[in-house]
């Protein structure tokens, strides 16, 4: 996987995003996406178990969906991406939101049970952001430096272990201070994604303080002046700064802004997936079908923006709807 998982969205005609951003409007939702139209006969209950990064996104979708179908019951549990596959396999959840793609072992377990692979829908785009305290003057980091900060194995090949802010050329009171590390717990998809894409499969240092939630990492960076941590972009607050990243030494630092996510320049942009149990060739039950249609409607993608993530363009929405046997009307 690795590089192949990077976003290749360049050819998708994102000029309109730029144009709108320039005009002072920040709506990133593709105007080609249709407004959701409710249908009749949708009821029952839905349960989603999975990513904590997508917890709020799921809650917003659920709220929006219930505006159309008030008597649909939706329960949302978000304890980490790794909880999604077992719940899908056991049938305790209809949806498994995950902030990483499923591992081969998880896919196989699913296939053993049902005889086909789970379907992963790309619902939205997240940037995994590296946060520091708002007063931290650091200009940017390369991925190799980031690896040397967080990893004890340094697979990205940085020559020295990074332990103090002084090693990152910070001066004054910062120079002698040790870097205080914050990360997610191992059930989290963010933990897995960072490990795979920044640490290149290496091991985290033992000093990384594992936090129980995405927001907890940001709050830790807000209170600890010498902290660095990683979390989804949706959890950014005024008390932290997002560090621009560069893939290689000498390349310009890329800011974590939507344009860079869409253009694929930001190195840690990723899709957020919604996994469903869909038997290829069959048709989904009305409840799940309508929920998925809602996600890929204008309202659903506006909820994505509200949760702090970036909506997918209509072209992707079309592909994803086809994956579960829904013929898009746009």
């Amino acid at each position: 996987m690795g590089i192949a998982e990077r976003l290749w969205l360049v050819p998708l005609g994102f000029v309109f995003v730029w144009a709108q951003a320039a005009a002072g409007q920040v709506s990133l939702v593709d105007p080609k996406l249709p407004s959701y139209t409710p249908v009749q006969g949708v009821s029952g209950s839905l349960k989603s178990v999975g990513s904590d990064t997508m917890n709020n996104e799921m809650a917003l979708w659920a709220e929006g969906f219930q505006r159309f179908y008030p008597n649909v019951k939706i329960e949302i549990e978000g304890k980490g991406s790794s909880t999604a596959p077992p719940a899908l396999i056991a049938g305790t959840a209809q949806f498994g939101p995950m902030s990483r793609s499923m591992k081969q072992a998880e896919r196989n377990a699913f296939e053993r049970r049902f005889g086909y692979q789970p379907t992963a829908l790309r619902t939205s785009i997240d940037m995994l952001a590296v946060y520091v305290h708002k007063d931290n003057p650091i200009r940017g980091l390369t991925l190799a430096q980031l690896d040397a900060i967080f990893s004890k194995t340094r697979k990205a090949g940085h020559p020295v272990d990074m332990r103090t802010w002084g090693q990152l050329e910070l001066t004054g009171p910062w120079s002698g201070r040790p870097i205080s590390l914050y990360g997610r717990n191992s059930a989290s998809g963010t933990y897995g994604y960072f490990k795979e894409h920044v640490l290149l499969g290496g091991d985290y240092k033992d000093e990384v303080k594992e936090q129980p939630g995405s927001s907890a990492v940001v709050q830790a960076c807000a209170t600890d002046r010498f902290a660095i941590g990683y979390s989804g972009i949706g959890y950014k607050t005024a008390d932290v700064r997002v560090v621009p990243l560069a893939v290689e030494e000498g390349e310009p630092f890329v800011e974590a802004v939507p344009e860079n996510a869409y253009s694929g320049e930001y190195p840690l942009a990723r899709f957020l997936y919604l996994n469903v149990n869909y038997k290829p060739g069959s048709s989904l039950d009305p409840l799940r079908r309508e929920f998925i249609r809602y996600i890929f409607s204008r309202q659903g993608q506006r909820d994505v923006a509200k949760a702090g993530y970036y909506p997918v363009p209509a072209a992707i929405a079309r592909e994803e709807l086809r994956k579960v046997g829904i013929e898009p009307e746009f």
């Binding site: 709020n56 659920a62 008030p70 008597n71 305790t92 209809q94 003057p137 959890y235 607050t237 008390d239």
Partner: protein
């Protein structure tokens, strides 16, 4: 037979304050005061004990007052300030925090300037325009211009997107502009807002009750059909008959649903005509629909009475409304319900079992190795981490018992589980297990405190052992048993770790108790205040706005537990009075 174990339990009322000194230790110590060393006079011990008490109390009072203060100020409406920056930007919002820090130039390399500067954290809102809820503004950015308090800065609390801070520009009904000065717009807003909100509530009632009813009947019909399919097989004559019936029902329901949708759309169209044009501090204009506004107030023109009204209205919304915007706004009503119902269910499950177990252990079981072993096991149970109970509850209740119930009774709903997943019942039972040791130990203590002479008297009069227990021992021990119940309730209501596994969820606006048969839905997942606190604190996207809500929710949880406990104490006192005359 009363047991001799009674004797080796110390009677709580007569436990002596100082170790192994003879009968009246206190008077003996007083007697040795003159000329004795500090240690023997036990002055230092008294200081130690008193000091420990003071430290405990100070910590408790400190924690409580922090929660109460932070919880109470959250909803107070604060003034809105407008700050003009040197680069021409204008920032408007409520001041949340203030701090002094080294100032730095805005652009890299962020050189540190000589003078530290004051900076303010403003809640700026307008998220859909700026992509931020909060913003730091440093004195270094303002060139020393003082903050203004514009008279017509209005705070809008909205259904979605959080707050909006802006100046009212115009009030529109359809295409007609009916007001253009701030004062006139505000007057129009006040005139029409309650009307629009009434319509909006009507729409929600249509959605919730009527459309909900249709959906529920539809689901019922679908399940009935599924049942026929499971019993007789698809394409059997019975199934065909049921299918025909299903289709007529479906058609009728769809017609009814179409009518409701039509009504809703009519209300929506009517409501959407009422609009407000507003301008932000930096001159961008936007339109707000009146129906999306929960509450609005001109923050800098409020009298004290207005402030109190807003404060009260916000509290009322908090305790009575459903959560919005991924739980960061709105109320916590479902969580309050969930907490109370779960605690009561847990109590009804744990108290009978605990009391019966303790009765047997204390009154019937022959003391010996076995009883001691059981007692040690019960006491150890109290020391098992609560998450272990959660795992047990998930594995045993949900996956084994629940899944079996589903297969037997709810086969037509599978693969969606009914009881085979976390829910109110399983959460209550898990917590009942968790608090069982508290009840058993307290009951045993209470039974042990019943004087032996009373039992012997009763037995001597010819009563059987069960009669003695029922008429003499239990009434006397009742206050102590209820104390155990209160302790169990307090422990259970504040527990969150096991609940995360067996049924407490982030969002479940459907209450566990409602007007639909069978009224109490034990299989439903529920919201819980303690879990809500965890969720707000660690998982909220807008953590700055969620932080004060953490305190208010904590305050509410403490208040609810206190209320539950106080009512239990009131019951205990009544019982105590009731049995007092029987005391001899």
């Amino acid at each position: 037979m009363t047991t001799p174990v009674l004797a080796n339990r110390s009677d709580p009322t007569s436990s002596a304050p100082v170790g192994d000194s003879p009968p009246s230790p206190r008077s003996a110590l007083r007697g040795t005061q003159s000329g004795a060393s500090l240690m023997t006079r036990s002055e230092s011990v008294v200081w130690l004990l008193g000091g420990a008490l003071v430290i405990c109390l100070a910590m408790i009072v400190g924690l409580l007052s922090l929660i109460v203060w932070q919880g109470l100020v959250t909803f107070w409406p604060r003034p809105v300030v407008l700050i003009r920056l040197a680069d021409g930007q204008a920032v408007m919002g409520e001041v949340v925090r203030e701090e002094t820090a080294e100032a730095r130039t805005e652009t890299p390399p962020h050189d540190v300037q000589a003078q530290p500067a004051r900076r303010l954290l403003l809640r700026v809102g307008n998220y859909e325009l700026t992509q931020e809820h909060y913003r730091w503004v440093s004195d270094a950015q303002t060139d020393g211009q003082p903050a203004e308090r514009p008279a017509w800065a209005v705070v809008f609390e909205r259904m979605a997107w959080g707050r909006f801070y802006g100046f009212p520009k115009a009030f529109l009904i359809g295409d007609d502009t009916i007001a253009q000065t701030p004062a006139a717009v505000w007057a129009a807003f006040q005139k029409y807002h309650s009307q629009v909100r009434r319509q909006w509530r009507q729409r929600r009632r249509l959605e919730h009750d009527e459309a909900g009813e249709v959906n529920r009947l539809m689901e019922q019909a679908r399940l009935r059909l599924k049942k026929f399919e499971l019993e007789h097989g698809k394409d059997s004559p019975q199934w065909k008959a049921a299918h025909a019936e299903f289709e007529t029902i479906q058609e009728a329901l769809e017609r009814r649903f179409a009518r409701i949708r039509h009504d809703i759309e009519t209300i929506d169209r009517w409501n959407s005509r009422y609009q407000l044009r507003v301008e932000t501090a930096d001159g961008r204009e936007t339109t707000l629909l009146l129906k999306d506004i929960v509450r609005a107030y001109p923050a800098n023109r409020l009298s004290w009475l207005d402030r109190w009204k807003i404060y009260g209205a916000r509290w009322w919304e908090f305790v009575s409304a459903e959560p919005r915007e991924a739980n960061t706004e709105g109320g916590v009503f479902p969580a309050i319900w969930g907490t109370v119902v779960m605690t009561l269910l847990m109590t009804t499950a744990v108290v009978p079992f605990g009391v019966l177990a303790a009765l047997y252990l204390r009154e019937y079981a022959k003391p010996g190795l076995a009883v001691s072993a059981v007692r040690i096991a019960v006491n150890n149970l109290a020391g098992v981490p609560s998450i272990v109970f959660g795992v047990f509850g998930l594995g045993f209740f949900c996956y084994i018992i629940g899944a079996s119930i589903d297969e037997l009774l709810f086969a037509e709903k599978l693969p969606s589980p009914t009881f085979g997943t976390g829910g109110l019942l399983w959460a209550s039972l898990t917590l009942a297990l968790l608090t069982l040791p508290v009840v058993i130990v307290a009951t045993e203590e209470a039974l042990a405190a019943v004087p032996r002479s009373m039992r012997e008297g009763s037995l001597g009069c010819g009563a059987t052992q069960w009669q003695t227990i029922r008429r003499i021992v239990l009434p006397k021990a009742m206050p102590g048993i209820l104390t155990g119940m209160i302790l169990a309730m307090a422990r259970g209501a504040g527990e969150v770790a096991p609940l995360m596994l067996v049924g407490a969820v982030k969002l479940a606006p459907e209450l566990p108790v409602d007007r639909v048969f069978p009224y109490v839905h034990l299989q439903r997942s529920f919201m819980h205040l303690a879990f809500h606190i965890y969720d707000l604190g660690f998982q909220s996207p807008n953590s700055e706005a969620a932080k004060p809500m953490v305190f208010t929710t904590t305050l509410l949880l403490i208040a609810i537990i206190a209320a539950l406990n106080l009512s239990a104490i009131a019951i205990r006192n009544r019982l105590q009075r009731k049995y007092e005359p029987g005391h001899f």
